[in-house]
Amino acid sequence: MAREGLRIRAMSKSYESWGGYPRRVQKAVRLDWKDARLPVLDNGETFLPYGSGRSYGDQCLNTGGVLLDMRGLKRFVKFDTETGILVAEAGVTLAEILDITVPKGWLLPVIPGTRLITLGGAIANDVHGKNHHAKHAWGGSFGHHVRKIWLRRSDGEDMVCSPDKKPEWFAATVAGMGLTGVIVQAEIQLMPITSGSVAVRTIKQRNLEHFFDLCAEFDESHDYTVAWFDDTCMDDKVGRGIFMAGRLMNGDERGALPLRAPGGVKFAVPFSPPVAVINPLTIGGFNSAYRLLPRREHSVVPLGKFFNPLDGIGNWRGLYGPNGFVQFQCVLPKDEAASVIPALLKDAREDGHRSFLNVLKMFGERPSAGMLSFPRPGITLTLDFPFMGERTVRLLHKLEDRVIAADGALYPAKDACMRAKSFKHAYPLWQEFADFVDPAMSSDLWRRVSGLNGSSE
């Protein structure tokens, strides 16, 4: 009987990026089996694998081309509970992985802010978590714990690459934004754990200087560190907020929680309000209220809640309203951070842009596994702005210029506006990477920052 071919679907399902900016109609085809043929496109049309669509900007869009919806490729292949080695198809989400592995005493060494992303997406962005700086084997970013990648090219070539076999393909594919070929499946190494909880120290952070001190203080004892700070404070109080340090508890510690599947999303923001609930007028209020809330110094937090608090609130981006929002995430060398971060916040403030979610993390010295990996030594800062049109884009360019001038970089996974020269400056291996890009693949972001595959929009 007829085997289902790949059919282009008209857009009944909308394919968006997480921030809702830019919003462009996409065409998509599904890949449901790992032995299925890749789409054969004509007229120089390109395709791009699409996972959970958690990239904020245009990295997961391919306007004028086709998206390859990978979410049907969600099968596990093998999980060795003795060694913690897992093989799964690229469309499996980190949440699904954790639900299966945590009860058996295994945790992903690197967990980003959301576990609702796919395995392929985690590799394609070389995602990082709160433990990049950890000096033992389990720190670094996602690519450090990938053992093998099964890659399929548009010309039909299938390959398996690893740090030892075809290492140049491996280095191109890790953080390769999905452009080197379709990641069909991957083999990863998990980390053994004995409890389902994290011991957390929560400390009021006085300012940016204090952040550096706290990082140094907790660097050895606590693998997971992150700071959230208040953007209402300026001058010597800039960076005032909350510092969190987390340590996985041993199973025999008092108060440790049992190993349990972290579970999925609990309740959803049921609608996208027509007016942004989070806007410049309300942000100041949220920030101050958060800062003044009493905080316990020591607490025990279940894994799911510690790593991904926002996953518990489905579709939280709806709170930003219909115009969506943009994230600005950069990394700055440590000696530049103290001066550049206050300047970035001042720029935003003066331009009427307030940021609701300001996060600071420390990156360690470990060299990244991918040619275009974002993590590099320094401090990473994330700002969040409700999108207010052209003036937001202008602000982001201004911030971008400051970061590049300080020898920093922006994170493509969050980006919607970065200009080609900034990308090329921050990712000097981009040209070498371009040789590995599959001729039939492209993305809105890649066209914008590389200037290849025709002009950007």
Binding site: M1, A2, E4, R7, I8, R9, A10, S12, K13, R30, D32, W33, K34, D35, G72, R75, F76, V77, K78, F79, A88, I100
Partner: protein
């Protein structure tokens, strides 16, 4: 969704294990620790589904390649499925083929093929497993029919006719088991509305439901229903209305 716990180690045979709906249901059963006997045509895809079920927690997974339209080939596979765990608690028949109506409606050979895949092969399997369940005196048998089988309409009647046949057959079996087993053997007619799967890809259909959204209803139906179950549930109301539209009006509807 309330948890309907499958008895740990419940032994379930799935025919058409590579279908989109079956895969999703299998995942839930695997998580509940069921023992699964999976049957499909394509060996490689069957292995993918079986491996996935094992990792997700199935207590045991066996599989067999079978083209269910080959009548003689059914026998050894069904025998094996019954032998491996000394009986079965449930059977789900999930294979099917939705053709393009315009392509088949005037072609006798193609019509026969549609009916072979969607009805004849299903009933053959049902005929072979009925006596085993009757002797066993308990368990459940489920097959996936379709809302398309409820009333003949121009856009889909060849497929719909085959599905209507299956629904009728299941109803008869249900009636039989009510008497011979006191209702201890349940017969479930799963009647999906349009679901977003590779089978419906490229077809213009309204109200496409997500397969992961209907899977819990199907798992629940297999766990406790004895009758017709529409998934999503709203199709019960829609089809009841459509079934009762007077013929004169129906004939004028473009549907």
């Amino acid at each position: 969704m309330a948890k309907h716990k499958v008895m740990h180690g419940e032994r379930i045979l799935v025919i058409g294990a590579a279908s989109a709906i079956a895969q999703e249901v299998i995942r839930t059963w695997a998580k509940q620790g069921a023992r699964l006997f999976l049957v499909a045509r394509d060996e490689a895809r069957l292995k993918s589904v079986a491996d996935d079920a094992r990792v997700r927690g199935a207590a045991a997974v066996e599989s067999a390649v079978l083209d269910v339209t080959e009548m003689k080939a059914q026998v050894p596979v069904l025998d094996e499925a019954w032998k491996v765990w000394d009986g079965l608690d449930g059977v789900l028949i999930a294979h099917g083929w939705l053709p393009d109506q315009g392509d088949v409606q005037d072609d006798a050979r193609k019509v026969r093929d549609v009916i072979d895949v969607n009805a004849t092969s299903v009933c053959e399997v049902l005929a072979r497993i009925s006596p085993r369940f009757e002797v066993q005196g308990r368990g459940w048998v489920a097959a996936i029919s379709s809302v398309a089988g409820v009333r003949g309409r121009s856009s889909i009647y060849v497929y719909g006719a085959a599905k209507a046949l299956v629904s009728h057959y299941l109803a008869g079996m249900r009636h039989r088991f009510a008497a011979s087993t006191g209702g201890a053997v349940r017969v479930i007619d799963i009647r999906p509305g349009p679901i977003d799967t590779p089978m419906t890809a490229g077809m213009k259909m309204p109200l496409l439901a997500d397969v992961s959204a209907v899977a819990p209803s199907i798992v629940r139906a297999c766990a406790r229903a004895n009758g017709v179950v529409y998934v999503p549930g709203v199709w019960w109301a829609i089809m009841n209305i459509l079934a009762h539209v007077p013929e004169k009006i129906w004939l004028r509807m473009k549907i």
